[in-house]
C-alpha cells in the first residue's frame, strides 16, 4: 500500500511562495500528473515528496508513514530526473546497481534484479556501456531502470521525456504507461506538456502560481474546466476564449461579442441570472463549432477565414469575427480557402462561461 497524502503543504523560498496550501490524496497504484506552466510549483511539490526540498508547513504521508522529516533515502521512493542524472563514470550496470549496493544487497541479488529490470526495458545489451555511449532514448531507459530496480513504493518523474525528440517522446509515453501497468506502483509525474498529462495520467492536477487549479481525470478537465486557466491550458489547439456581454433576462438571454450575438438556449439561461448586462468570458473548443450554409442572427457567427492549417487528421481554420479571433476544426478534408466567409454554429451544450473577475466557471456553480 503506498498512498501518498499531502495535507495543507506550503513551500516558501524566503518571500516567494512556491506552493500554497496543497492538498492531494494519491491512491495506491494511481498515476497522477502534476501539470502547469514553468514556475507553477509542480516540481517543488514533487521534490517535497522526494525529500529533496524541506516543507515549510503541512504534512506529507506515504502510506501511514509521516515523512516530513524523513531523509530522502528512507522514503522508499525512486525518482527519474529530466536530465537523467546518470553517473557518467559508471557503466549502465553500476548505475542501476548503485542503489542496491548502497542498501547492502548481496551481489547475486543485485545482478539478478539489474538483469530483470534490463529485460523489462530491453537494455540487456547496454549493461556494460557508459552513459556517454548511449543515445538520449537509451539514457532515458537506463534512468528508468535505475528507478525500477529497487522496487520502490512510489515513482516520481520530473519531466523525464522533455529531452527527447517528439517521435521518441510519444513512443516512450506509451512504454511508460505500459510499464506503470506492469509494475502497478503509485506514480507522480511532473510535466508542462498537457498532452503528456492527458495521455498518461489517471488523474491530473493542474497548477498555477503555487495553487492547485483543478484535480480530475483527463476528460473531466477537458469537458468541465473549473476556471479559465484550466480551460485554456488543457486541449490543443487551445479553447477559444473571448469576452462577451450577457444581455436580456429570463429565457431570452444572449451573448454579444465582436460583431455578433448568440442566443443562449433557455435551459442554460437560468445560470446567468446574476450576470445580466455584465461581461463574461466565453469558452468554445475548436471542435465544438459546426458550419451553417447561411447566416442566421443569434444562431451563427459570421466569420472571415484568415489562415487554414491542415494537419492531416484534422484541419483548423483561424477566423475573425470582428475583433474576436477564433480557431475552428472543420474536418479532415475541406475546401475552405483563406479570405472566404463562413458561418460557424457553436454547440451550446459544450460551451463554457467564466466569471470575468474570479475567472471561475459559471456553469459549474
Amino acid at each position: 500500500m503506498a498512498e501518498v497524502r499531502l495535507e495543507n503543504v506550503c513551500k516558501h523560498f524566503d518571500d516567494v511562495v512556491a506552493v500554497d496550501d496543497f492538498n492531494l490524496s494519491i491512491r495506491d497504484k494511481e498515476f497522477v500528473v502534476l501539470v502547469g506552466p514553468s514556475g507553477c510549483g509542480k516540481t517543488t511539490t514533487l521534490r517535497m515528496i522526494a525529500g529533496l526540498e524541506s516543507i515549510t508547513s503541512g504534512d506529507v504521508y506515504i502510506g501511514d508513514r509521516f515523512i516530513n522529516k524523513l531523509p530522502a533515502k528512507d522514503r522508499n521512493i525512486a525518482m527519474v530526473f529530466q536530465n537523467y542524472a546518470l553517473y557518467p563514470h559508471m557503466t549502465v550496470f553500476d548505475n542501476m546497481a548503485f542503489s542496491l549496493e548502497m542498501r547492502k544487497r548481496s551481489k547475486e541479488e543485485i545482478k539478478q534484479r539489474v538483469q530483470e529490470a534490463a529485460e523489462i526495458l530491453g537494455i540487456q545489451g547496454l549493461l556494460f556501456r557508459r552513459p556517454k555511449q548511449l543515445s538520449g532514448g537509451q539514457r532515458q531507459r537506463v534512468a528508468l531502470g535505475r528507478a525500477i530496480v529497487r522496487k520502490p513504493e512510489v515513482f516520481l518523474f520530473d519531466e523525464p521525456l522533455s529531452n527527447l525528440d517528439a517521435k521518441l517522446r510519444a513512443q516512450t509515453r506509451l512504454e511508460l504507461k505500459k510499464l506503470h501497468e506492469r509494475l502497478a506502483t503509485t506514480a507522480v509525474y511532473v510535466t508542462h506538456d498537457q498532452i503528456e498529462a492527458m495521455t498518461m495520467g489517471d488523474r491530473i492536477v493542474v497548477m498555477l502560481d503555487g495553487f492547485i487549479q483543478q484535480v480530475g481525470s483527463p476528460l473531466e478537465l477537458y469537458d468541465r474546466p473549473a476556471n479559465k486557466f484550466v480551460a485554456g491550458f488543457i486541449g490543443s489547439p487551445a479553447m477559444n476564449l473571448f469576452e462577451a456581454e450577457l444581455n436580456g433576462a429570463g429565457d431570452g438571454v444572449s451573448l454579444r461579442a465582436g460583431d455578433f450575438t448568440l442566443d443562449l438556449p433557455p435551459e442554460k439561461a437560468k445560470y446567468f441570472q446574476d450576470y445580466a448586462e455584465q461581461k463574461v468570458i466565453v469558452g468554445i473548443r475548436p471542435e465544438d463549432f459546426k458550419q451553417a450554409d447561411e447566416h442566421s442572427p443569434g444562431k451563427t457567427i459570421p466569420v472571415t477565414v484568415e489562415v487554414v492549417e491542415p494537419i492531416g487528421n484534422e484541419t483548423y481554420v483561424n477566423v475573425a469575427a470582428g475583433d474576436v479571433t477564433l480557431t475552428a476544426a472543420v474536418g479532415r478534408r475541406t475546401v475552405i480557402k483563406p479570405h472566404s466567409s463562413l458561418n460557424l454554429v457553436p454547440i451550446f451544450d459544450n460551451m463554457h462561461l467564466f466569471d470575468i473577475r474570479s475567472q471561475k466557471s459559471i456553469l459549474k456553480n
Partner: protein, 279 residues
C-alpha cells in the same frame, strides 16, 4: 591556391608559434648550456656563448659532492607533498561545502577565502613567522608544510568550486535518493567526476610548494633543512661570487620532477583548468 593557403598558415601560425617557443625555451637552453661548460669557458668572452666547446660534467659532480643537494631535494619533496596533501584535503572539503551545502554564509565564506589569496606573501610572512615561533616550529620543515597551505588552499578551493559547480545537482540528489550518505556521495560520485580538477589542483600545489622561496628563506636557517631553491641560492652564491655552473646544475636537476609531473598529467591539467565535465 593550396600553396597560398599553406603559406598563410605558416605566417599566421607557425612563425608566431616558433617565436613564442624560442622566447619560452631560451632560459632553459641557457641553463643547460651553462651546466656543461667549465668556468674558464663560461667567462671567456671570445668564445661563442651559444655553443659548448668542451663539455664537462664537473658542475654536476660539484653540486652533488660539495653541497647536500640530495638532502635538499628530499626536504623539498617532503614539504611539497605534505603541503599538497593538506591543501587538497582542506580545499576539497571547503569547496564542496561552499558549493553544495546550503548554509547562509557560504557566499561570504567563499569570498573570504579568496581575499586570503590576495594578501601578498611579503606581508603575510611577518605574522606567520610569529605563529611559527610560538608553535616552536622555527627552522623545521613543518613550518613550511603548515604555511604553504595559506596560499595554496584559496586557489585550490576556487578551482574546485568551479569544478563542483559543473556537476549537475541532480546527480547528487539521485544518489541521495538511492540511499548514499553525503560522505559516500562525495567519495563515489563527486570525487571520481572531479578527478581532473583534483589533479590540476594537486599539480598547482606541488609546483608552487616546490618553487616557493620567501617562506623557506624566512623560516629555515640550518643548511640541512633547506629546500632546493634556498639551498642553491644560499650555498652556491657566496658573497658576490656566483657559482653559475653548479647553480644551473641544481636548477636543472630540480626542474626535472616538476617537468615529469606535468608531462604525465598535462591532459588532465588542461581539462581541470577549463573546468569541463563532459558527460
Amino acid at each position: 591556391m593550396v600553396i597560398e593557403r599553406v603559406g598563410s598558415k605558416v605566417i599566421k601560425f607557425y612563425v608566431p608559434l616558433a617565436a613564442y617557443l624560442i622566447f619560452l625555451l631560451f632560459p632553459f637552453y641557457w641553463m643547460v648550456n651553462t651546466v656543461f661548460k667549465s668556468n674558464t669557458e663560461l667567462y671567456n668572452l671570445d668564445l661563442n656563448p651559444f655553443y659548448i666547446h668542451s663539455p664537462t660534467l664537473h658542475n654536476i659532480v660539484r653540486l652533488f659532492t660539495e653541497t647536500i643537494f640530495l638532502r635538499w631535494m628530499a626536504n623539498t619533496f617532503f614539504v611539497a607533498i605534505m603541503a599538497t596533501l593538506i591543501s587538497l584535503v582542506a580545499s576539497l572539503l571547503a569547496a564542496y561545502a561552499i558549493q553544495r551545502l546550503q548554509f547562509k554564509t557560504s557566499g561570504p565564506t567563499g569570498v573570504a577565502i579568496f581575499l586570503g589569496y590576495l594578501i601578498p606573501q611579503t606581508i603575510l610572512f611577518i605574522p606567520l613567522a610569529h605563529i611559527i615561533f610560538k608553535l616552536r616550529l622555527w627552522d623545521s620543515l613543518w613550518a613550511l608544510v603548515l604555511t604553504y597551505p595559506t596560499f595554496l588552499i584559496p586557489f585550490c578551493t576556487w578551482l574546485l568550486m568551479g569544478y563542483f559547480k559543473s556537476i549537475p545537482k541532480e546527480m547528487e540528489e539521485c544518489a541521495m535518493i538511492d540511499g548514499a550518505s553525503r560522505i559516500k556521495i562525495f567519495r563515489r560520485i563527486i570525487l571520481p567526476l572531479c578527478l581532473p580538477g583534483v589533479l590540476s589542483a594537486g599539480i598547482f600545489c606541488f609546483t608552487l610548494s616546490w618553487n616557493e622561496y620567501l617562506y623557506a628563506l624566512a623560516f629555515i636557517s640550518s643548511t640541512a633543512k633547506k629546500t632546493v631553491p634556498i639551498g642553491l641560492v644560499t650555498e652556491l652564491v657566496r658573497g658576490d661570487v656566483y657559482h653559475w655552473g653548479a647553480l644551473m646544475a641544481g636548477a636543472l636537476c630540480a626542474s626535472v620532477p616538476v617537468a615529469l609531473v606535468y608531462s604525465f598529467f598535462v591532459e588532465h591539467y588542461v581539462a581541470g583548468m577549463t573546468g569541463a565535465l563532459k558527460e
